[in-house]
């Protein structure tokens, strides 16, 4: 997928001005956190589960080579085929080669963020194969030719009127006078449109939430059942996934699953959790004849042993998006690539480079809600700070900002000078603002004052008041 993360500021401004987006986000920013907190309250062990989830993932990452080799050998023993891919291109090529080997024309797809990451749909289409997204949200945005705006609710940026408009335009064979007002009617229409596609597809592609090393299994977690129809009906099932998804045992997978739905949607458990191991077995009446797994690296292995290793614990629940004030204001498209919100602000620079995605780790208030709700306790603000430091060290941030920071740090490292300046500045500003008690505009600070007033200091600096009290 082509990144537009460089344009974050313009994207964000457009998002803030988009009434439909703001209406859609208003529903999301209250709903998700409320449902999560209710689910967490009901489970006294939730905190212990987070700790356990973190340690499982840390253990896997420390021994990732061992678990991947074991996973591969067990998947192969079950009759599956594992395709390793270093890059997006290699992953796409592997999928195309499988599709061509069975003469596939149509593929159905369950939701896969890894498939989004490698730009699989565009690649297949360019090669004469029609990909059909079957998750309702993914289906809607595929019709609209938009990227997903959220990692578990890809069409969360839309209101129902926009969905209705899209369906009327794209489902042109249906009666134009049909009622299409309630979400119920739109779900029914999508169900009716997609059912024949499920039945006709030659290949079904899903993602994987987890891979189980012990058994060679892949696991998907869904609510709609589209992933199951996608992987059960066609002759070939391809799992698009990435190397950090592996866990040692089914017991470990279950522990993470107890965290996943509660963190994501506030459900106790998603409707469908499906553990798949190999193709159809002798005597089975249904299921795919071939089972392939495309295992993508795409820069992940290079994160091991760095400040960003913890990011590989991520189980893609989207709790950090759902609790982020920046995401809630600008929406997911502003981030300009596949992964938005706090997890995207850390992962995107890791995968496509800080030169491209430097705005993202800066688009944070560091309020820390993301880390506080993360089911595997990823220190997201800390890692965004690491990216800011690297951006500064590589001289990628704007000159004015860099000069300002240099001046500030020079002064801050000289406490006597700093205190003198601070005392002087608070007195001057206090005097200048004595009438209103706030400033509508300030030289060099219009980034602050164009959207809000700057409160005027009371006339003394904190340091001098503190020193006085200590006496």
């Amino acid at each position: 997928m082509l990144a537009t993360s460089r344009n974050f500021k313009a994207n964000a401004r457009a998002g803030l001005a988009d009434d439909n987006l703001q209406k859609a986000l208003a529903l999301a920013r209250t709903g998700f956190p409320l449902r999560r907190s209710l689910a967490v309250e009901r489970l006294p062990e939730f905190e212990a589960l987070r700790e356990s989830g973190r340690s499982i993932k840390d253990h896997v990452l420390a021994h990732l080579d061992f678990y991947l080799e074991l996973y591969e050998s067990r998947a192969v023993a079950a009759g599956g085929k594992v395709h390793w891919a270093s890059t997006a291109q290699e992953a796409c090529a592997a999928v195309l080669q499988i599709c061509r080997s069975v003469g596939a024309r149509t593929v159905t797809k369950g939701k896969s963020m890894v498939a989004e990451e490698v730009g699989l749909n565009d690649f297949l289409e360019a090669n004469g194969i029609t990909p059909v997204e079957t998750d309702l949200g993914e289906y809607i945005i595929q019709l609209r030719e938009e990227p997903p705006s959220h990692i578990i609710a890809p069409a969360i940026h839309l209101i129902k009127e926009q969905v209705a408009e899209t369906f009327r335009a794209e489902h042109s064979a249906l009666d134009p006078a049909r009622p299409l007002v309630e979400p119920r009617q739109m779900c029914e229409e999508a169900r009716a449109m997609l059912r024949p596609r499920f039945l006709a597809a030659d290949v079904g592609i899903t993602g994987a939430n987890f891979l189980v090393a012990e058994t060679g299994s892949s696991i998907i977690v869904t609510n709609e059942g589209n992933g199951d129809l996608t992987q059960t009906l066609p002759r070939v099932h391809i799992v698009m996934t990435s190397i950090e998804k592996v866990v040692p045992t089914l017991e470990d997978a279950v522990t993470l699953m107890r965290l996943l739905a509660r963190s994501a949607t506030g459900q106790e458990f998603s409707s469908y959790t499906t553990v798949s191991t190999g193709p159809r077995q002798p005597g089975d009446l249904d299921g795919p004849e071939q089972y392939h797994v495309v295992l993508l690296d795409n820069g992940r292995s290079a994160l091991l042993g760095t400040d960003f290793q913890d990011m590989l614990r991520c189980i893609r629940c989207a709790a950090c998006l759902n609790h982020c004030p920046v995401y809630a204001a600008v929406g997911g498209h502003a981030y300009g690539w596949v992964y938005p919100g706090p997890m995207g602000a850390v992962l995107t620079p890791s995968l496509i480079g800080i030169e491209e995605a430097g705005h993202l780790p800066n688009a944070s208030t560091f309020c820390g809600r993301c880390e506080s709700v993360c089911p595997v306790k990823i220190p997201l603000p800390k890692m965004m700070r690491h990216w800011r430091e690297r951006e500064y060290a590589q001289k990628l941030s704007p000159p004015v900002y860099r000069t300002g920071l240099s001046v500030w740090s020079w002064v801050a490292r000289r406490p006597a000078l700093y205190h003198a300046f601070a005392e002087l500045a608070s007195r001057v500003l206090g005097w200048a603002g004595r009438g209103r008690g706030r400033f509508r505009s300030l030289p060099l600070a219009n980034g602050w004052t164009t959207v809000r007033d700057m409160p005027a200091p009371e006339g003394r600096s904190f340091h001098s008041l503190w020193a006085e009290r200590q006496r």
């Binding site: 062990e45 589960l49 356990s52 021994h63 990732l64 080579d65 061992f66 591969e72 079950a78 390793w84 270093s86 290699e90 079957t134 998750d135 309702l136 949200g137 809607i140 609710a153 890809p154 069409a155 969360i156 209101i159 129902k160 979400p183 779900c187 169900r191 012990e214 058994t215 060679g216 609510n223 709609e224 059942g225 589209n226 199951d228 129809l229 059960t232 009906l233 190397i243 040692p248 089914l250 017991e251 459900q267 106790e268 998603s270 409707s271 469908y272 959790t273 499906t274 553990v275 798949s276 191991t277 005597g283 089975d284 009446l285 249904d286 299921g287 690296d297 292995s301 290079a302 760095t306």
Partner: protein, 244 residues
């Protein structure tokens, strides 16, 4: 392909600053796997006796719009299914798993219930299956694929009816998976294990929860509670006779 594999594995080892795992580490990792150690287990279901566990299963299932009917004898199952289909205004035509576990039910007492055994097709409206286990923790059913238990039954029809025997209700996912091993089906696993918690749903349009996105719109459990049957033999026979 092999080159890519080696490159990725080598890259992982370089990043971790070590070579392939040594003998000691390998032994540790293998013993961790062999132990199949359980992690944190919620007390919610694990601490309950059988009776409360079954009640919790029913309560949790109903919370996610699964409907549950309790019956006390196999003879009541066809009756309950006929009642359910009539109440939902559905035709009395069912595709059922060719599962010997369903043979013990006296289907002949409801001759109008037309039952085909096999995998589900595009036109089947109602499916009937047994299950491998029922998990009280979240009201979740565990179904496995096999020659007698095709997966399409769980997803293609609009209505899925599942017969759960009281003895199949376990506390946790771990308990349910242990039953898989205890029955000699440990490895390789069945092609598919389906954990099913309520009917299909979506909230992709304005967070509005709609049932029946792509999978079944309705999930109905007939809970065969034979433990109660011993206390109610007389009543049971009367009802069975009434059904004929």
């Amino acid at each position: 392909m092999t080159q890519t594999r080696e490159r990725i594995l080598a890259g992982i080892r370089t990043s971790l600053g070590r070579g392939p795992p040594d003998a000691h580490t390998l032994a540790e990792l293998r013993s961790r796997l062999a132990a199949r150690r359980r992690n944190v287990i919620p007390a919610r279901a694990a601490a309950l006796d059988e009776c409360d566990r079954v009640d919790l299963f029913v309560a949790m299932a109903e919370e996610v719009q699964t409907t549950v009917a309790r019956v006390v004898s196999p003879a009541m199952v066809p009756e309950e299914i006929a009642r359910y289909l009539a109440a939902e205004n559905l035709a009395a035509e069912i595709v059922a798993a060719p599962d010997p576990g369903l043979d013990a039910i006296p289907w002949e007492i409801r001759p109008l219930l037309r039952i085909r055994r096999g995998r589900a097709g595009a036109d089947d409206k109602v499916s009937l299956t047994a299950c491998h286990a029922a998990i009280a923790e979240t009201g979740t059913l565990m179904l496995i694929s096999g020659r007698h238990t095709p997966t399409t039954l769980n997803f293609l029809p609009e209505t899925h009816i599942v017969i759960v025997r009281r003895g199949q209700v376990v506390a946790t996912y771990e308990d349910a998976m242990d039953r898989l091993c205890a029955e000699g089906a440990s490895r390789p696993l069945p092609r598919v294990i389906n954990f099913i918690t309520g009917p299909s749903r979506t909230a992709d349009i304005e967070q509005h929860i709609e049932l029946g996105a792509h999978g079944p719109r309705r999930l109905h459990i007939v809970l065969l509670d034979e433990a109660q049957a011993t206390e109610r033999v007389g009543e049971d026979e009367q009802r069975g006779a009434g059904g004929q």
